[in-house]
């Protein structure tokens, strides 16, 4: 039943950077299913830009591991979705290809950085898509657009072919309208790849189960404190009440290390990014540099011109955080904070099976609302801890505030992605009924 899928979406929310009008597919568990891929995941023969002008026209000669798996499973790769430039943002507004709009309300952002993937699903253009999550980039747009998104355990999905933003934090993950589809897509992409040395051979092969009787749900006070919209908090509390109704019990827990989570996160991700993005220097990417200039001058001018302001800001921050005399004060301290947060989660997850809270502190922002970078960074407070701790986390729609979607975030122990999927599934099935 191999064939070609004709794909010409009505992309009024600008979810795609590239679409494939004729998408070939083959036999397999996803035979003929249209799957969109975030534009920082390498696709052989299909332009891969990371939402940046510097990679405009870059066509990878090889497939990311997950893309190879998608093709093997028969999926039709129908396009590459819009994103914040190199994943740096929570709104998809930093893309060089224009912002994506939220299908739930086109005056709002879809969240980010995997905003294109979330919007494509929410708008009904594709049933499922791949996103990537460095500090919430799958879960934030899933919550804002009202779909489901899973950030897998660090080391569960191969990063081979994912154009790195912050290697030690990020994972590729599935996004879909339903938990079941998220789980299906996860079963396809979570297969061992020896090319990623940070990966463990723990394939995901699971059908979600809605039986959560006896489950202990940890509710951290830090997830319902200052900065969290009380109406969002209430919506999420109600969702946790639904879990109790299904036989789960709730336990108050604490993640004291959360105080330093954002600072640690932004030091680590910008440090790694400053190194990862250094290769985009005009020698092989972007238009040819001006050979009349000395090479370092040409590099500087090209990078100044082709990276957007948020990317330049993060490269500068990371360069500073790693520089001699400051690395001890910033990079090394951030690693300590990261270990503390990991230990906090480990401790809490010995007492409970799962931790629940809001995915985002608010509903989707208006386009252009977050003008100063700091307030944008603050909105990541509830998602970055899972990346720092390397634990699986899912966002599942749990109601609306001002008719905008709210996401329930469920975090589990490392390599217990199956459990966070089951709890999300139990909730989804219960409220659907």
């Amino acid at each position: 039943m191999a064939g070609t899928l004709h794909f010409s979406p009505d992309d009024r929310c600008n979810a795609f950077i590239t679409t494939c009008k004729e998408a070939p597919f083959s036999d397999g568990t996803l035979a003929g299913v249209a799957v969109a891929v975030k534009d920082n995941i390498s696709t052989a023969g299909i332009q891969t830009t990371c939402g940046s002008r510097i990679l405009k026209g870059y066509v990878p000669p090889y497939d990311a591991h997950v893309v190879g798996l998608l093709r093997q499973a028969g999926a039709a790769i129908v396009g590459k979705t819009n994103m914040d430039e190199f994943g740096m943002g929570s709104t998809t507004e930093t893309s060089a290809f224009g912002p994506t709009r939220n299908p739930a309300d086109p005056s709002r952002v879809p969240g980010g950085s995997s905003g294109g993937s979330a919007a494509a699903i929410a708008a009904g253009l594709v049933p499922m898509a791949l996103g990537t999550d460095t500090g919430g980039s799958i879960r934030c747009p899933a919550a804002f657009c009202g779909i489901v998104g899973l950030k897998p355990t660090y080391g569960r999905v191969s990063r081979y072919g994912l154009i790195a933003y912050a290697n030690s934090l990020e994972q590729i993950g599935p996004m879909a309208r339903t938990v079941e589809d998220v789980s299906r897509l996860m079963s396809v992409i979570a297969k061992y790849d020896p090319r990623d040395s940070t990966m463990l051979d723990r394939p995901y092969d699971h059908r979600p189960s809605a039986d959560i009787a006896g489950l202990r749900v940890g509710v951290p006070e830090e997830y319902f404190g200052e900065g969290v919209d009380p109406r969002v908090a209430e919506t999420v509390q109600n969702a946790i009440g639904v879990l109790e109704g299904l036989g789960a019990s709730t336990v108050p827990v604490s993640i004291p290390g959360m105080r330093y989570a954002l600072a640690a996160y932004y030091v680590i991700c910008t440090s790694e990014a400053s190194s990862n993005l250094a290769r985009f220097d005009g020698v092989r990417y972007g238009p040819a540099v001006d050979t009349r200039k000395s090479w370092h001058e040409a590099y500087q001018d090209l990078r100044q011109e082709l990276f957007g302001p948020e990317v330049r800001r993060r490269i500068m921050l990371g360069t500073f955080a790693l520089s001699a005399g400051y690395a001890g004060r910033y990079y090394a301290k951030a690693q300590v904070a990261r270990r503390n947060i990991s230990q906090d989660f480990e401790r809490a997850l010995r007492e409970v099976d799962i931790i629940a809270g809001p995915t985002m502190p608010t509903v989707a922002f208006r386009l252009g609302e977050k003008t100063d970078p700091l307030s944008m960074y603050l909105s990541d407070i509830l998602t970055v801890p899972a990346n720092l701790a390397g634990i699986p986390a899912i966002s599942v729609p749990c109601g609306r505030v001002d008719s905008l979607p709210v996401g329930l975030q469920l975090m589990g122990r490392q390599f217990e992605d199956e459990r966070v999927v089951d709890v999300a599934y139990a909730y989804e099935q219960e409220v659907k009924a």
Binding site: L162, S168, A278, L322
Partner: protein
Amino acid sequence: MKTIVGLEIHVQLATATKLFCGCSTDYRDDEPNTHCCPICLGLPGALPRLNRKAVEYGLRVAKALDMKVPEESEFARKNYFYPDLPKAYQVTQYDKPLAIEGTVEIEDDEGHEKLVRITRVHLEEDPGRLVHVAGGAKYSLVDYNRSGIPLLEIVTEPDMRSPQEARRFLNKLRTILEYLGVFDGDREGSLRVDANISLEGSERVEVKNISSYKGVEKALTFEVTRQKNLLRRGQKVTRETRHFMEGRGITTSARSKEEEHDYRYFPEPDLRPLRVAGWVAEIDLPELPVARKNRFMAQYGISLNHARTLTGDPKLADFYEEVAHIDPVLAATWVADTLLGELNYRDMSIAAVPADRIAELLALLRSETVTDAAGTQVLREMLDACAAGSPCERPADIVERAGLSKATGGEFTAIVQKIVAANPQAVEDYRIGKKGALNFLVGQVMKETRGRADPRELGKIVSEIIETGGV
């Protein structure tokens, strides 16, 4: 004024594939950019996968140099921009190297044994190579065949006291590396050296990227003179990086901008920490140079000098052991003196010489089928053929074809008579007792007979002919 020298040596490990990908390392004679993949090209999204063999090779060196291997070592990124560096960072090791604290024994300038301490060894990847286009082009080309070649950086303490000691250290180190089978000295750029040199009480100067041992000695000798002259004129030595201009034998100051690097090292997040201390016990070291030299003397009864020469290069030592069964002492003389001399003259490697043919030649020499002089001629013919890539004739066939088999003096009576007749002055000198005259006459006959006769035997015939008045 004491000279203080420390070295950083980059050794190209002789693995079949690169440090982080499966590309072949043997790109000699191949077109540029034909040994590359997404990983060594640093394409976005590609990830490094550590070559286990390179780690084993590094540990072999660590064990041979008697080093400590920490429980955990770690790769780090060294960040800097340069057009030959595809990722704009080099994956190397920084504060957690593969091994620390070892020693190498060398002879000091007075001929005494001394220990040079090894600070650390670590693994790292080589960048690509810039190819500058002739004819004033406005651009350069990048060849990534070399990108990702595994290097072992070996750092010494400042324990050497002269340029000569530094060269002896490098020779010794090279021999050890060759014995360990981790290094192919014949590959271009397989060993590169940065040297730190200071005069006691003065600032230190780093001379970068010297690509030969002779270069190291030359560069350091130049620096000693330059620094002494500065001090003699009452000036100070500036702490700086200098480049060695191989062709001119001098060092020149690198622009100070090049030194102002902040490499912003941090642990490579794409690789896990390396926990390989447990591997060391599994490593079987081969017999190292000193042990082999002692065994050669004991087992084959050859001289210290021959044993030292033969074991100075593992390939030469192996070669000797392949031919020693014919006659160990004869073989030692022929391999260490005659053959090695002929090879150096031709700039040939011992690897190009077929041992079985040399064994045959040794057998001819041992049975006195040919003389030493004829043997040398046969050897030269064989080496010329090998150097030209032609099949190597059997020595017996060469002897046959060229008529080089040893002849008794009687065969040459006519020639001897001719020589004696043509050199009356020498005959006269001989008669009045000048010893040299006989040697001269014998030499003339040898020349005429192309060395086929045994000179001692010939001497007897010449004197007989003179004395019996055969003139």
